[in-house]
Symmetry: C2
């Protein structure tokens, strides 16, 4: 799991904190000296990926490519169908998120007091509350559960919730955890969950202020439900709807840290059969530690850039879904340069092996930003300076504007990871 | 479930809000005119209980009784053993709370920032945070899950968390809900959970500001995990450790609203076999609606009383456990007048039928207050005025002080409800 100190900016003495950052810094400086990159509709694909926890090796992949634009204006946008799609039928609701129309109906008409700046609604990362009117801050609050089987449940609970606070422009500060454990859980396993919670809180300077832990009948795995509280200055509150036509879309890290690591852990046998080496599989699994799924460092850097309008953390449905969600939330369209979307080498290898699309794969660890083009150069420079790989991948358009696309971004009905696991369980 | 408007104070015009309150007011006024009640070690046991949702009938039970004191000084305090006791053995952790020594070890050494006024610790109801230093309020935050099978899960999630905010002297304001539903859940069932959440929030003037709802594999019943946020003026923050030797112990409602209602629903067959009528069982089940498990009205009334030192909401282990917890948190002892502990007539009947002790039965709906004796009369008058039955049940003592007891309060290793259900499942 990412530790803030391992990929964040300069230390207090103003020096670069580590050799890692130096490598990244030089790579991006080189890219900026080139005459074509980071501008127009084609550029070098620069990708820096820490592929192993200990060796901290970095690689640069890709190269000049022909422009190929995916756009929201393409009427024939291909759709990746998914048997695992959340839905409701005679047998009741299927596993996963609620069907969007059901959720919208449930949230529609929620009553809130005047102190609720941003309340419960589909697509919002967290609530914003004017807690102490007249003070210099709003309260941000977010709750999200970790319900899949993982030995990293404590880490996930912290970072998933912290990322959502950061997407609102805020700083995560205080965390409450509810841990529900299956009967027969060993005391050592409980301690491990707490160690993860405490370690992850310490790494991002959050106080673990409360919670509830119990052994619950009828569970076959632990569940951890987190509630992250944070602060944001009212003027710095970021909302998805505030993105504007003409904004550049910047992506940090690329596709797809989390999904790649999960597949390396869950599908090792299939990956070996597809020809991947043990080293490649291990390197992919290690992505969960470095760079990890936290994007707080990137959000902190981008907050300092003039013209930043919205942040979004790509999760289920990957980068493609995140782009659509960002545009939809603001009532806009988009143009995406396919060659400009960084794909981790591990992700490319694993997706090729399993027949998955990297752009539809669970992408926590990345950060998608919409900002005025006047701030793009500064944003990329600051991110590079902080050792965080990033690229301009396209822009938001007026939905009614000219299209100009020659390709279309696929629509993913569900995450490629879910589609793979569903297909596997059908086969089994 | 309690609706605030049904048992709270005077309305804005200063009139008594309902006939219910008038009945309560007159009963308590009569009690106060008596020469013996509310003073010394014996008094009339006054009990007002709304026993049916629609009829709103009130009854007064009990009468003069000989003094009989349960005290913490009794070395031979009887212990109710419990096979359902949370513990850890070679087979791992058993269902229920964590063993206290394990939990204490996990929470020991949690790091918190200086803005955390009260953080995670055993026995604390909620965290208190100095959110906007210099403002007139602290942030209170509490998370608690509802994991038992109940058709009232939304109501429970709101009130259980709201009660804990009130115990800190605060006002619950904003709520986030995570709902985890089993596969095959009908859409109507999801709507019912949301209706309960919204209805309960509206009743206590809380804004439902966010949450997460999903269908989770491997569940056999819904789980709802709540996070309640509230406010408290720094000078009004109540902590369990602030109770003092010599404080009176006041109890509202009595034993045991919640446990009685749950038993009426879960053990109807056994209750019929024990001779209870359908009407008695239905009346007991209705306690969940009136008076319900919310004690916000009582807490609000008591906050206005000078000399209030601590509030505690009796839950698992009943009134007896709540008294012990209140004393232990402040490092004190106690003297309890057994005849002064109000027991709902439904509770007395059901406990007699099933062989359970009313004072060890799940008692949400009640509120235990520790306050300077100089405030007792005013507190009881204000509660009576608000239509909330209450009684002085004893006092806190210096742990090293003279004993003077002639009996001992039992120790309940686990709630009487859990003991009953465990015994029943063993028999089955």
């Amino acid at each position: 799991m990412a530790r803030d100190s391992s990929h964040g900016g300069r230390d207090r003495a103003g020096r670069h904190g580590s050799a890692i950052e130096q490598v990244a810094h030089e790579a991006f400086a080189e890219a900026r000296r080139d005459e074509t990159p980071w501008r127009g509709y084609s550029h070098q694909l620069i990708l820096l990926s820490a592929t192993a926890r200990w060796s901290r090796e970095f690689r640069i992949t890709g190269g000049p490519a022909s422009p190929r634009i995916w756009s929201s204006r393409r009427a024939t946008s291909p759709t990746r169908r998914c048997a695992a799609l959340p839905k409701s039928d005679a047998g009741g609701l299927r596993a996963g998120k609620l069907p969007p129309e059901l959720l919208a109906g449930l949230l529609n008409g929620l009553e809130s007091g005047p102190d609720v700046v941003v309340g419960g609604a589909v697509g919002l990362d967290a609530a914003a509350i004017d807690f102490a009117p007249g003070s210099d801050r709003y309260l941000l609050a977010k709750t999200d559960p970790i319900t899949f089987a993982t030995d990293r449940i404590g880490d996930y609970a912290i970072h998933v919730n912290a990322n959502d606070i950061a997407c609102m422009g805020g700083r995560p500060r205080w965390f409450l955890a509810t841990a529900l454990l299956p009967e027969g859980t060993a005391e050592a396993a409980v301690r491990d969950v707490f160690d993860q919670l405490e370690g992850a809180c310490r790494a991002i300077e959050v106080s673990l202020v409360g919670g509830h832990t119990e052994v619950t009948v009828g569970l076959d795995r632990p569940l951890v439900i987190g509630c992250m509280l944070g602060t944001v200055a009212p003027a710095e509150l970021l909302l998805p709807r505030n993105a504007r036509a003409g904004d550049d879309l910047l992506l940090t890290r690329g596709a797809a840290v989390e999904g790649t690591a999960v597949l390396a852990r869950e599908a090792a046998t299939a990956l070996r059969a597809a020809g991947l080496t043990e080293l490649e599989i291990a390197a992919a699994a290690d992505l969960l530690d470095a760079p990890g799924i936290s994007m707080l460092s990137a959000a902190r850097v981008l907050k300092g850039v003039a013209g930043l309008h919205a942040l979004h953390d790509p999760t289920e449905g990957g980068i493609a879904t995140a782009v659509r969600e960002t545009a939809t939330a603001a009532g806009l369209g988009f143009e995406i340069e396919v060659t400009g979307v960084p794909v981790l080498p591990e992700t490319a290898r694993i997706c090729a092996g399993l027949g998955l699309d990297p752009l539809g794969l669970l992408a926590s660890g990345a950060l998608l930003a919409a900002l005025d083009p006047s701030g793009t150069e500064a944003a990329l420079a600051l991110l590079a300076d902080a050792g965080i790989p990033a690229a301009r991948i396209g822009r938001l358009t007026s939905a009614a504007g000219p299209a100009g696309e020659d390709s279309a971004l696929p629509t993913f009905e569900c995450d490629e990871l879910a589609r793979y696991l569903e297909g596997r369980s059908d086969a089994g």
